[in-house]
């Protein structure tokens, strides 16, 4: 039941914790407040994380990475997120898509890109499906003609020509390598006409559009990817031609969200404030604080359990999906309560401390991040065991 981490694994978690508290937390709130969306990401922190081996955390040992299992990935991302959720997500996205880069690429692709990915401390990864007209459609794999991404890819000699726009892409504008999904048989359903391409940022015709300003998670760039006759070399076809949907179907580890990082920070801030300003003597604040503690412990345990099972025969993707729903709701409530315990200042900027309102704005992103909670439930529903099958 306990993490039971190896000493090496514990060390990675400790490193993440140290950087989060010593380097990220002191700068995060001011960046959140004062920086423009396209400039808020702290690259110097990314360098530190890389130097600590945390950017390549999930790269298998044979390629020079740490080869972390899902549980360690979840714990490290949560620790980073204590400092700032946006920074954590920039790494977490990279952790998730590392698997694609290291295990599902062709030898040619690995020869071309893997060394660079390992050596460039700022090489982050992103995956792009969402477009203005299709968000939940793609997430739920609504398999009807016309539904899903509209970006097209056409073969032209030794190149694929990609045209269209993606948006709300985490790490969009930050990442160096993108897994981009486009229609290769636009008249067909997604299951029959969607293909993935590995697109380096410097590819001709690939531009970063607007960096959206957001309610929270403002240190992370959620970029628009504008592809205008973007020329992707033929060897960068990723996976099967028209086989894009099956890749998406396998991508569920994103459900192991680091939402408890900001939630723990909010709890710490609230506890300290309550004990200092006298609220801790009142029953309402005592109940509120213990509930916060409860929700954090329940959510962390659930997330860790889902992560632990991920490498086991007992893995169950609906456990991973629903732990995301649960943890996001729990985190939002924890952070909101922390604001209340701070009193009037709980909804305002505060010079001397990271304000709990930033934690709350940040974690609200998980109402839609990795699928809206309602969509995640609908995605999990068909995975429920049929009547009569013992699920326990």
């Amino acid at each position: 039941m306990m993490p039971d981490l190896s000493p090496e694994e514990s060390e990675m978690v400790r490193r993440a914790r140290r950087i989060a508290r010593e380097d990220i937390l002191p700068i995060a709130a001011a960046r959140d407040r004062n920086y423009a969306p396209g400039e808020a990401y702290p690259w110097h922190i990314a360098d530190k994380l890389d130097a600590a081996g945390l950017r390549t955390l999930t790269v298998p040992g044979k390629f020079g990475g740490f080869g972390a299992r899902h549980l360690v990935q979840a714990m490290v991302a949560e620790e980073i997120a204590y400092g700032d959720l946006g920074v954590a997500v920039s790494m977490d996205q990279t952790y998730k898509f590392t698997q694609l880069l290291t295990n599902e690429t062709t030898q040619t692709q690995r020869d071309l890109y893997l060394d660079d990915f390992m050596n460039d401390p700022r090489a982050l990864l992103a995956l792009a499906t969402t477009e203005p007209q299709s968000g939940t459609d793609t997430f739920l794999m609504y398999d009807a003609p016309g539904a899903g991404p509209r970006m097209t890819a056409k073969q032209e000699g030794d190149f694929y020509i990609l045209s269209g726009t993606k948006h709300y892409i985490s790490n969009g504008g930050l990442a160096k390598y993108y897994f981009i999904f486009a229609r290769t048989a636009p008249e067909k359903k997604m299951s029959e006409g969607l293909t993935c391409f590995l697109v380096p940022r410097d590819t001709e015709g690939f531009e970063i559009g607007e960096a959206h300003s957001k309610l929270g998670r403002r240190l992370l760039q959620n970029g628009e990817l504008v592809l205008r006759n973007c020329r992707v070399p033929a060897h960068n076809l990723f996976g099967e031609w028209n086989g894009g949907l099956s890749i998406l179907k396998r991508m569920v580890s994103g459900a192991l969200i680091p939402v408890m990082g900001p939630s723990r920070l909010a709890y710490d801030l609230a506890r300290a404030a309550a004990q200092e300003n006298g609220a801790a003597d009142e029953q309402w604040a005592q109940m509120a604080l213990t509930e916060m503690y409860m929700l954090i412990e329940a959510a962390r345990t659930y997330l860790y359990s889902a992560a632990w099972h991920a490498e086991k025969p007992t893995d169950d993707s609906k456990r991973r999906l629903m732990s995301k729903v649960f943890a996001s709701e729990a985190g939002i409530r924890v952070c909101r309560t922390a604001m209340e315990i701070w009193g009037r200042t709980g909804a305002a900027w505060h010079d001397a401390r990271p304000p709990p309102e930033k934690c709350w704005r940040d974690v609200l992103s998980y109402l839609h991040g990795f699928g809206t909670n309602e969509a995640v439930k609908l995605k999990a529903a068909p995975l429920l065991a049929p009547a009569g099958v013992d699920e326990w």
Partner: protein, 382 residues
């Protein structure tokens, strides 16, 4: 019992609705994104509103005001809050505090107050609450409402006020404060008017930078030998009854704000197609819209019932305005959050209307007595 609004109310509501759409909303979106809290005051909007008679709506017609009752004002507040919650709160304070003065002062006193208030077109009112004990220097990195406070000392026939007050809404531009100096010892409790003008000993010590409701400045004040005006009736029960409007009207403005986010969600749900049909036809979304309608209506009705009771002096249930405020505020938060969820990821972006509205209603929850404070006050009255 009759849920139809009278003609006068409908006319006021219509006036406020047009003003909110045509004047308030276009101007205040920019104020929300203004980085400098000192530059967010919506002076231009308020000047226009004053020309419509909005500022003095709660002053009796005989004294030159709009003569609107509390229940009518709750309709108007909702419309103004739809336009902008910060503006709604500024007006709500103007209305509620004029009502409070009318109940806490004698007829002649109130008439003098009203004359001044009606004539000075830029005069707004704000509520200040301090502890009777002056604040020790606040070195804690944590916030504490308890630490605010000001000492009041006799000075000849009058009084002198020194100290500070934290988180005064519209505390910079308001020209007149209703100051409530609270104390555990009821004999030391004082309520009076305090002028805020050059040389009056009142200064803005700090502009807060709140996450929402930004058109209404949230400031800390410093008092140095400020001279309080005429003391008002400060009996606990009297004060409670005189300030029902100070809980009800701001909350009505918050309902307007939440309603706006729901309207945006409803529109979006009709247009956005996923899964082969408009998302409003999916139960996931349709149910959220239903829940919003339920809670908006329940919040509005609770506030209206409290407003009616306060207008009719229903003293038997003094807890009503506290709980209606808490219920409405918490409902509004849920409504705004659902509205954001209906928009999916797009709702999280600053370009979406609900990104601001959700911040506004949550910031509002922290003002005029939070949920626990309202419950604590109410449970003592059960």
């Amino acid at each position: 019992m009759d849920f139809a609004s009278g003609e006068a109310t409908l006319a006021l509501q219509g006036l406020a609705r047009d003003f909110a759409r045509q004047e308030i909303a276009p101007l205040t979106d920019a104020l929300d994104q203004e980085k400098d809290p000192e530059k967010r005051f919506p002076g231009e909007v308020l000047d226009k509103g004053d020309a419509l008679g909005l500022r003095t709506l709660s002053v009796p017609e005989s004294l030159g005001g709009g003569g609107a009752g509390l229940l009518s004002l709750s309709f108007v507040a909702e419309e103004i809050g739809w336009g902008d919650l910060g503006v709604g709160v500024i007006y709500a304070q103007d209305w509620a505090l004029a009502i409070a003065v009318s109940r806490l002062w004698d007829e002649a006193g109130f008439a003098a107050f009203a004359e001044n208030f009606v004539q000075d077109h830029a005069l707004h009112l704000a509520h200040v609450r301090t502890a009777a004990t002056p604040a020790p220097e606040d070195k804690s990195p944590y916030p504490s409402d308890a630490r605010q406070g000001a000492s009041i000392e006799k000075d000849g026939d009058g009084l002198r006020l020194s100290g500070g007050a934290r988180h005064v809404l519209n505390g910079a531009a308001a020209g007149l404060f209703l100051l409530e100096s609270d104390s555990a010892n009821e004999n030391e409790r004082r309520i009076f008017l305090l002028e805020n003008r050059d040389g009056s000993g009142v200064e803005v010590a700090r502009y807060h930078d709140p996450m929402g409701m930004r058109a209404c400045p949230d400031v800390d004040l410093r008092f140095e030998d400020a001279q309080p005006g005429h003391p008002l009736d400060c009996a606990e029960e009297k004060w409670r009854d005189a300030t029902h409007a100070l809980r009800i009207l701001p909350a009505s403005a918050a309902v307007g704000c939440a309603r706006k986010s729901h309207e945006h969600a409803h529109d979006h749900a009709r247009e956005r197609v996923q899964g082969g049909k408009p998302i409003i036809e999916h139960q996931t979304v349709g149910y959220m819209l239903c829940d919003n309608l339920m809670e908006l209506d329940a919040a509005r009705r609770s506030l209206q019932a409290a407003a009616w009771a306060a207008e009719h002096g229903e003293k038997a249930e003094p807890w009503r305005s506290f709980l209606a405020k808490a219920f409405a505020t918490e409902s509004c938060e849920r409504v705004a959050r659902r509205a954001m969820e209906v928009w999916g990821g797009a709702g999280y972006m600053t370009e979406a209307p609900m990104e601001r509205l959700v911040r506004d209603v949550v910031a509002f929850s922290h003002a005029f007595g939070m949920g626990h404070a309202a419950r604590s006050a109410a449970m003592g009255l059960l």
